[in-house]
Amino acid sequence: MSDTTVLAPQEHFATIEQQAHAARLGMWVFLASEVLLFGAIIALFTSYQVHYPDAFRQGVDHNTKLLGSINTGVLLTSSTAVACSVHALRAGKRRLAGLLVAATIALGAVFLVIKLTEYAKHFHEGIYPGGAGSFFQVHHARGLPEFWTLYFGMTGLHALHVTIGLTVLGVLLSRIMRAELGAASAHRLELGAIYWHLVDVIWIFLWPLLYLA
C-alpha cells in the first residue's frame, strides 16, 4: 500500500504535526460550539419540562419509544464502527477502514429511514409542529404543543447533523477508496469520525429526554 507517502504541510505550518494538531483543536473548538447550539434548545426543552411536567410526560408516553430506542442502538453501533475504522486506517488496513466507514454510512442511513418513519407516523396521527393537527383537538394539556414542537425542532436539527455527517463520511470514504487517505493522513478520517461521535453523543441525550422519561 502507498501509506508511506510523506505529506508536506501547508506553507504556513512548520510541520505536518503542527498542522494536524491545529486541525484537531479546530474540530474540538467547533464541537464546543455545536454543544452550545444544541444546548440552547435543550435548555429551552428542560425549562418547559419543569413548567409543564404533566404535558411533557404525556408527550413522552405517546412517543414512538421502540423506534427511538432502536435508533439509539443503531447510532451507538455506527459510532463503534467508525472508531474501529480510524484504528484500522492508522494500522494501514485501508480496505478494512473503508468497509467500516461504509458500514457507518449504512447505519446512519438506517437511522434516517427510521426517523422519517417516525415522522410519518406522527403526521398520520395529526401531530404537527406548532400545535397544529387533529391530535391537539383531542389532547388539550397545556404545554403539549410545546413538547411536540420542540420534539420536531430537536430531532430535525439532529437529523440535519446526521445528514451532514453522512456527507462528510461519504467524501472520506471515496478518498479512502481512491487511496488518497492512508495511515499518514489518518487524522483526516479521525476528524470526520469525531464529528460523527458528537452526533451520536447528542442523540444519547435526546433519547432519554424525548422517549424514556
Binding site: 503542527q18 491545529a22 460550539s33 452550545l36 440552547a40 404543543p145 410545546e146 425542532g153
Partner: protein, 541 residues
C-alpha cells in the same frame, strides 16, 4: 527601491478579493466595517434629528422604529462585534505570535464572505419591509410583526456563523501557531484580549443562532416556541438571547481593552503595572461575563431568586474591568508619557469607560434598575461602553497601527484636534441622555412629552460635533493614505512584536526570523538594532 510588502506583492483585484493573507483579509474587514459605521451613523444622525422636536420632525413613527432597529442591528452585529477582532485581530494576531498566517487561511476568507452575505441580507431586509422590533427581537412582537423578520434574522444568523469561524481560527492560531520560545506569559496583551474574545465568540454565538432560528420559525411557520397562546414563554427567549448578548458586550469591549494595553505601554514607554492582572482579568471577563445575563431582565417577570443571583454575579464581573482600569492608569506612573493621538483616544476611553462601567454597576443594583430599565439611562450607559469604549478604542487602534498597516503617517495636529472633538461631541451627545433616563423618558419613543425637549436638543447638537470630529478624521487619514510621509518601521519606538518587522510587513510577515525571547513591554534598556540602540544613535550622528 521599494521593499516587497503585502500591499505591493500582487495588485490585481482578484488578488485582493480572493486573498488568504490574513493582513489583506483584515483590510477587507476594515473597509467593510467603516462602511457599516457610516451607515449605522447615518441612522443615528437621523434619529437624533427626529428628536429635535416632540412628535413628527422629519420622519413617521414607522420610519423611526425601523431606523432605530437598523441602527442597532448594524452597529451591534455589523460593526461592533467584528470591529477590532476581525480587522486588527486578523492583521496583527499572527504577527504578534510570530506566525506566517492564521491556522486556517481559507476558512478566514470564507468567514469574511459569510459576513458579507449576512450583511447583505440585513440590508436587503431594509427594502423588503424593514424590521421594527429593536435589535433585541423580543417575541411575541417579533413573531407577529409582518415585517422582514426572517430575512434580517437569518442575516444575523449568517453573520454569527462568520463570528464563530473567526473566533475558532484565532483560538487555534494562538494555541498552535506561536513561535518557538513564545510562551503565554510573553504574548502581547492584545493577543490575550483577542483570545478571550474568541472564546466568547465560539461559545456564545451558537446560542444566539439557535434562538434566532426559533424566532424565524415562530414568525414564518407559527411554530410557537415562544408564543403564549401555545403555552410558550417569551421570558425564556430573553434568557437565551441575553445568554449571548451580555457576553457579546465583552466581545465588543475586550479587544478594545487589548488596544488600550498596547497603546498605554508604548506611549508611556513603560512595562505594564501588572501584566498578569490584565491578562487574567480578560479571562475573568470572558467567563464570569457568561453568568450575568439576567440583569437585563429584572423587571421582565423573572423569579426573585434568579434576579438576586444575577444581581450579585453582575457585581463580580465588574471587578475585572476595575482591575484593568487601575493597572492602565498606574502604568503611566514613572513612565515617559507622550500625549500622541492614540494615547489621547485611550484617555477618552478610560474616562468614558469608567463612567459607563460604573453606571453599568449602578443598573445592576436592582432597585435602581427598576426605575432605569428601558429608559434613556440605559441607552446612555451602553453608548458610553460601546461608543465611548469600543469606538474610541477602534479609533485609537486605527491611529496607532496606521503606520504599521500603510507605512505612512498622518497629521498629528489634526489627529489631536479630531480626538478632542470626538470626545467632546460624544460627551455632549450622551451625558444628557442619563438625565433623560432619570427623568423617566423610555427608550424607543418616537414621540415624547415636551418637557424633555431641551435635553434632546443638547444631545442632537452633540451628535453633530461628534460627526464633525469623525469627518475630519476620515479626511486626514484618507489624505495620509496617499500623501502621508513615510513613517519608518517603528515610529512609536514600541517593543511589541508587530513592530519588529517592516512597516508594512511582507507577505509572510517577517523577512528574517525575529527574536521572540524578549518581553514585549520591556523599556528598561535600549533595543539592539533599532533607533533606540546607542550604537545606532552614534552612527547617525
Amino acid at each position: 527601491m521599494t521593499e516587497a510588502t503585502y500591499l505591493n506583492a500582487r495588485t490585481t483585484i482578484r488578488s485582493w478579493v480572493l486573498t488568504t493573507d490574513h493582513k489583506r483579509i483584515g483590510i477587507l474587514y476594515l473597509v467593510t466595517l467603516i462602511f457599516a459605521l457610516v451607515l449605522g451613523g447615518f441612522f443615528a444622525m437621523a434619529l437624533r434629528i427626529e428628536h429635535l422636536t416632540p412628535g413628527h420632525t422629519v420622519m413617521t413613527a414607522m420610519t423611526y422604529n425601523r431606523s432605530f432597529t437598523l441602527h442597532g442591528v448594524i452597529m451591534v452585529w455589523i460593526f461592533m462585534i467584528p470591529s477590532i477582532p476581525a480587522s486588527f485581530g486578523n492583521f496583527l494576531l499572527p504577527i504578534m505570535v510570530g506566525a506566517k498566517d492564521v491556522a486556517f487561511p481559507r476558512l478566514n476568507l470564507l468567514s469574511y464572505y459569510l459576513f458579507i452575505t449576512g450583511t447583505v441580507m440585513v440590508l436587503v431586509s431594509m427594502f423588503v419591509g424593514g424590521i421594527d422590533t429593536g435589535w433585541t427581537f423580543y417575541p411575541p412582537y417579533s413573531s407577529s410583526t409582518p415585517t422582514a423578520i426572517p430575512t434580517a434574522l437569518l442575516g444575523v444568523f449568517v453573520i454569527g456563523f462568520s463570528t464563530i469561524l473567526t473566533g475558532l481560527n484565532f483560538v487555534v492560531t494562538t494555541h498552535t501557531m506561536r513561535h518557538e520560545g513564545l510562551g503565554w506569559m510573553k504574548l502581547p496583551l492584545f493577543v490575550w484580549a483577542i483570545y478571550a474574545t474568541s472564546i466568547i465568540q465560539v461559545l456564545a454565538t451558537p446560542v444566539l443562532g439557535m434562538v434566532l432560528l426559533l424566532v424565524v420559525l415562530d414568525n414564518s411557520l407559527h411554530w410557537g416556541f415562544f408564543d403564549p397562546a401555545r403555552g410558550g414563554d417569551p421570558v425564556l427567549y430573553q434568557h437565551l438571547f441575553w445568554f449571548y448578548s451580555h457576553p457579546a458586550v465583552y466581545i465588543m469591549i475586550l479587544p478594545g481593552m487589548g488596544v488600550v494595553s498596547e497603546v498605554v505601554a508604548t506611549f508611556a514607554r513603560k512595562n505594564l503595572y501588572s501584566y498578569r492582572a490584565i491578562a487574567y482579568s480578560s479571562f475573568g471577563l470572558a467567563f464570569v461575563g457568561f453568568l450575568t445575563w439576567g440583569h437585563h431582565m429584572f423587571v421582565a417577570g423573572m423569579s426573585t431568586f434568579d434576579a438576586g443571583a444575577f444581581g450579585v454575579l453582575s457585581m463580580l464581573v465588574a471587578i475585572f474591568s476595575a482591575i484593568k482600569v487601575f493597572n492602565w492608569t498606574w502604568t503611566l506612573k514613572g513612565g515617559a508619557v507622550a500625549l500622541k493621538t492614540p494615547l489621547l483616544y485611550v484617555f477618552a476611553f478610560l474616562f468614558l469607560f469608567v463612567f459607563g462601567g460604573m453606571t453599568g454597576v449602578a443598573v445592576a443594583a436592582m432597585s435602581l434598575d427598576v426605575h432605569w430599565h428601558d429608559t434613556y439611562f440605559v441607552v446612555a450607559h451602553f453608548h458610553f461602553i460601546m461608543v465611548g469604549g469600543t469606538l474610541t478604542a477602534f479609533l485609537a487602534a486605527i491611529h496607532y497601527w496606521f503606520p504599521k498597516i500603510t507605512g505612512r503617517m498622518y497629521s498629528e495636529r489634526l489627529g489631536l484636534l479630531s480626538a478632542a472633538l470626538v470626545f467632546a461631541g460624544f460627551f455632549v451627545t450622551f451625558f444628557p441622555q442619563f438625565l433623560l433616563g432619570n427623568a423617566g423618558m423610555p427608550r424607543r419613543y418616537y414621540d415624547y412629552p415636551p418637557q424633555f425637549q431641551p435635553l434632546h436638543i443638547v444631545s442632537t447638537a452633540g451628535s453633530w460635533v461628534l460627526a464633525t470630529g469623525l469627518l475630519i478624521t476620515a479626511i486626514y487619514l484618507g489624505h495620509a493614505l496617499f500623501r502621508g510621509h513615510r513613517a519608518g518601521d517603528n515610529p512609536w519606538g514600541s517593543r511589541s512584536f508587530e513592530w519588529r518587522t517592516t512597516s508594512p510587513p511582507p507577505t509572510h510577515n517577517f523577512h528574517a526570523t525575529p527574536p521572540f525571547d524578549i518581553d514585549p513591554y520591556d523599556y528598561t534598556q535600549p533595543l539592539p538594532g533599532t533607533d533606540d540602540d546607542p550604537a545606532a544613535e552614534k552612527e547617525a550622528a
